[in-house]
Symmetry: C2
Subunit: 206 residues, 2 copies
């Protein structure tokens, strides 16, 4: 979608305020060059203080972006565009972060088994002049998993650094019967909406 | 999902009767080792002779599998498991194959723009004793594309070897507002259903 503005974007310094190799891969896969700059923001926002999941993930993404912008600007290398994102898995009104132990991963995956849950990714795109924020949500239907399948998956090590305890782009993809929404929201960066924003921001420069 | 039977599957000779690097990547990504053996089947079935799209893709997948099995067996290296698949993009009851020219790619992508279409992938899994066939379908909603975006995408070269003229796992993923169904059906191999079949076939061997 971005081809008409690609020459404009290629001349920009774009920073992804994230440590996620999956997000970097997604964005490079569509032909954009980005530098990865993990945010030092502590991610200490309290979910209960937000009335909607979308407010929480957008606010977390915004803090990541602002921290990275401040730091890079202080170092004299202010980026032209900073992209930040935060992803959260929710079930029955509860947030599932990254599991802190294998036992917690087991509980998470057992709860996701045979049911549909919702993944939210909040995104912030900031240029010098402008901030755009949005959230996409995607429903993910898991098949029924037996105990051996869950234990075997935990043994792969994949669940431990993933919100909700699974990675849809890896072995965890085999658990997912169907999705409703942007698949890439579940990977961690809603590509359609992100590219729509970047296109709108730059198409007057064609 | 396959972890409990992975040691069984790793001892098998698995062949993917396909030339698609995308299908091979998907299947290797979930930890299975496969050899790629492109089928020499001519793919000359006539769509109008089938009452359902699913019958057409399953039959094409079956012919691919049988041709590869016959050839490899003739060479004295019969595989334990052969997997074949065929993917088709449909809109308004019409099948979209791979575009044969840039002009055809332009027409296809213009028709997909701003609408939902359906992707069918038929799969055949054959062991010595058993044949399992199934088809998965996934709805794909495209955003509205302008002419420049379509022409820019065609210039990347990506559309030309893809059914429907786009690759969801590449730059074409930025056109897709939402999917309903297994995302991997659109990439070319419905992972959930395929793994369910492989699990059922082998779990008595655990």
């Amino acid at each position: 979608m971005l081809q008409p503005v690609m020459h404009v974007l290629k001349a920009k310094k774009i920073v992804l305020a994230s440590a996620s190799p999956r997000r970097a891969e997604l964005i490079e896969n569509i032909g954009l060059k980005v530098s990865l700059c993990p945010s030092l923001f502590e991610e200490n926002l309290v979910p209960n203080e937000f009335s909607k999941f979308s407010d929480f993930v957008e606010e977390t993404a915004l803090h990541k972006v602002l921290e990275v912008e401040k730091r890079l600007t202080g170092m004299g290398s202010a980026p032209d565009i900073i992209i930040g994102a935060d992803t959260m898995v929710t079930l029955d009104g509860e947030m599932f972060g990254k599991p802190t132990s294998e036992a917690e991963a087991f509980v998470m995956l057992s709860r996701l088994s045979g049911r549909s849950h919702t993944v939210y990714t909040g995104v912030v795109v900031k240029t010098g002049e402008e901030i755009v924020k949005f959230t996409e949500s995607t429903d993910v239907q898991f098949g029924e998993l037996d105990e051996q399948q869950i234990r075997g998956y935990i043994d792969t090590g994949e669940p431990m650094d993933k919100a909700g305890g699974y990675g849809i782009q890896g072995v965890g993809g085999t658990f997912v019967e169907r999705v409703e929404g942007d698949y890439f929201t579940v990977v961690g960066l809603p590509l359609y909406r992100l590219c729509s924003v970047l296109y709108k921001m730059h198409k007057h420069l064609i």
